[in-house]
């Protein structure tokens, strides 16, 4: 973990993309409480803008966004941030075979919105190696 200008360790930056405000707020509260710096946006367009301005260490995105498909957005962001872990967090329940054979090639991690926060945190920490 790198240090900030005041010597304190810099927090990992996580970008959350979801069209539902209550999900964004809950995830932001939870991840901030667990020591991360969190930015939340409701659309793919704002996600692109945020990435250009303040590149995140990890991106968590919903599948269905206001202006795009979460998987499409992830594909586009990969060109800018090829090494940044991308997590797909969605309420659409995929068949395990689909997850294994399709989604796992596109995202670093697939999580259902019915997953517990503890599970989400575990995956975030695993991907960020913290």
């Amino acid at each position: 973990m790198t240090a900030g200008s005041d010597g304190t360790p810099m927090k990992k930056h996580i970008l959350i993309v979801d069209d539902e405000a209550n999900i964004r707020d809950l995830l932001e509260e939870f991840l901030t409480h667990n020591g991360f710096r969190v930015t939340t946006v409701p659309s793919a367009y704002e996600a692109q803008q945020t990435v250009k301005r303040d590149a995140p260490n990890l991106i968590i995105s919903d599948l269905q966004l206001e202006d795009s498909d979460g998987l499409d957005m992830i594909e586009q962001l990969k060109s800018t941030l090829p090494k940044t872990p991308m997590v797909l967090l969605t309420g659409v329940l995929f068949d395990p075979k689909v997850v294994r054979e399709t989604l796992s090639k596109k995202v670093s991690c697939y999580l259902e919105k019915t997953s517990s926060l503890a599970r989400i945190l575990h995956e975030v920490q695993r991907l960020l190696a913290v």
Partner: protein
């Protein structure tokens, strides 16, 4: 404990002060006594000196008057005058008189000695009277009188008597002096003992005070150490308790977040499922095992004109009937079971006459089997009937059929 120690120390200091006052009082009193003794010693020595002076003056006067009578030497006459003071005819004008006056004054407060001094005055006075008479006879040239006076004189005897009296007075005064010296010594010794005893007692009391102060300081140190230890333990308990509370709070916060997340996930999932069902353009009926309607999608409302609250808990047959001209209804079952009449009693419906045709659906649900593409009719609020293709799926919850989902694809409307 603090007040008790101070009280004890005050009591000790009161004792010390009392001892000091007593020692000072006794010392001053003994000093006064010593000074009085010293005055008295001087006084006694003076009495002894004066009575011996009387003896000397008498002897000197006697000797001088005899010498003058024999030789006519004026010096002897002067000596006689000096000793007896006879020029003026008064005893107190010579040395003898002075000695007697002083001795008489010194012994005025001592009756025994005073009596002896008075006796001495009498004896000395006689010797002075004799000397004056002898001098007067000699000056007048009356040698006969001189001879007769000298012949009658008992000077030696008188002088011995005076000498004895002087010795007696001297001896008595010396004895008193010895007694008073002894008393003075005892007073000095008493003073010394009093002072030393006072000093020792005061030092002992001061030692007691020092011990009390030391004991009090030690007690206070022990109390301070105990208090410090107690504070440290309390602080440790507070820290541990604070850590426990922080941990509990952290856990509570995490649980709260988790619960809120679970609720929203559930709500999201439910809304998403509704969205899926409501988005289907076919007519979807969710049925209970008794073939009552428990849920419909908006396409049903649109097709039948009934609102959802009008259809919920109503028999499915009140809206949908299988066609009775369907050849071999049993043959439509994907997995034929027992004869319909034997399995399910007729369920009456609003439409009445078409009631028995619903039996294949009930039969399929009771056995948990699917029915597909059965010809049916849907009747709307105004009684219009529309042909449709009905498919029924059993709803399974943990391998148990709890109801069914009927989907109708509307083919055409009938007037």
């Amino acid at each position: 404990m603090k007040d008790q120690t101070i009280s004890r120390i005050l009591i000790f200091f009161l004792f010390i002060s009392a001892v000091l006052v007593y020692v000072a009082y006794e010392s001053v009193r003994n000093i006064d006594r010593s000074m009085a003794s010293s005055d008295w010693v001087n006084h006694t020595h003076e009495v002894i000196l004066e009575v011996n002076g009387v003896l000397s003056s008498v002897r000197a006067g006697d000797s001088a008057v005899h010498t003058y009578v024999i030789t006519g030497d004026p010096a002897s006459k002067a000596v006689c005058h000096e000793a007896f003071g006879v020029l003026g005819g008064r005893l107190d004008s010579g040395e003898l008189g002075e000695h007697l006056q002083v001795a008489e004054a010194d012994t005025r407060n001592e009756p025994a000695q005073h009596d002896e001094i008075l006796r001495l005055i009498g004896l000395a006075g006689k010797r002075a009277d004799f000397a004056r008479a002898l001098l007067a006879a000699h000056q007048s040239g009356d040698t006969g009188s001189v001879r007769s006076l000298l012949a009658a004189d008992e000077g030696a005897e008188a002088n011995r008597e005076i000498q004895n009296l002087v010795r007696k007075v001297t001896s008595e005064e010396m004895a008193l002096l010895a007694d008073r010296d002894q008393a003075s010594y005892l007073q000095a010794d008493n003073t010394r003992k009093t002072v030393w005893s006072g000093v020792v007692i005061d030092f002992l009391l001061l030692g007691g005070v020092a011990w009390l102060i030391r004991d009090d300081i030690a007690t206070r140190r022990r109390a301070a150490a105990a208090l410090r230890e107690s504070n440290e333990q309390l602080e440790a308990r507070v820290l541990a308790r604070t850590a426990d509370l922080a941990s509990a709070n952290e856990k509570l916060l995490a649980e709260n977040l988790e619960r809120r997340w679970g609720n929203q996930a559930l709500e999201h999932q439910l809304r998403y499922n509704h969205l899926i069902v409501n988005s289907i353009s076919d007519l979807v009926f969710v049925l209970t095992k008794a073939m009552n309607i428990s849920r419909i999608n908006p396409a049903v409302v649109h097709q039948t004109g009934f609102e959802a609250e009008e259809l919920i808990n109503r028999p499915f047959s009140s809206v949908v009937q299988l066609l009775d001209d369907n050849p071999g209804a049993d043959a439509l079952l994907l997995n034929p079971g027992p004869p319909l009449a034997a399995v399910v009693p007729m369920i009456g419906g609003i439409m009445g006459s078409e009631g028995p045709l619903i039996d294949p659906l009930t039969h399929a649900l009771s056995e948990g089997r699917d029915l597909r593409d059965l010809p049916a009719i849907v009747e709307d609020r105004r009684g219009r009937k529309t042909a449709a293709s009905l498919t029924l799926f059993p709803l399974r919850d943990r391998d148990k059929v709890v109801g069914g989902v009927a989907i109708l694809q509307v083919a055409q409307e009938k007037a």
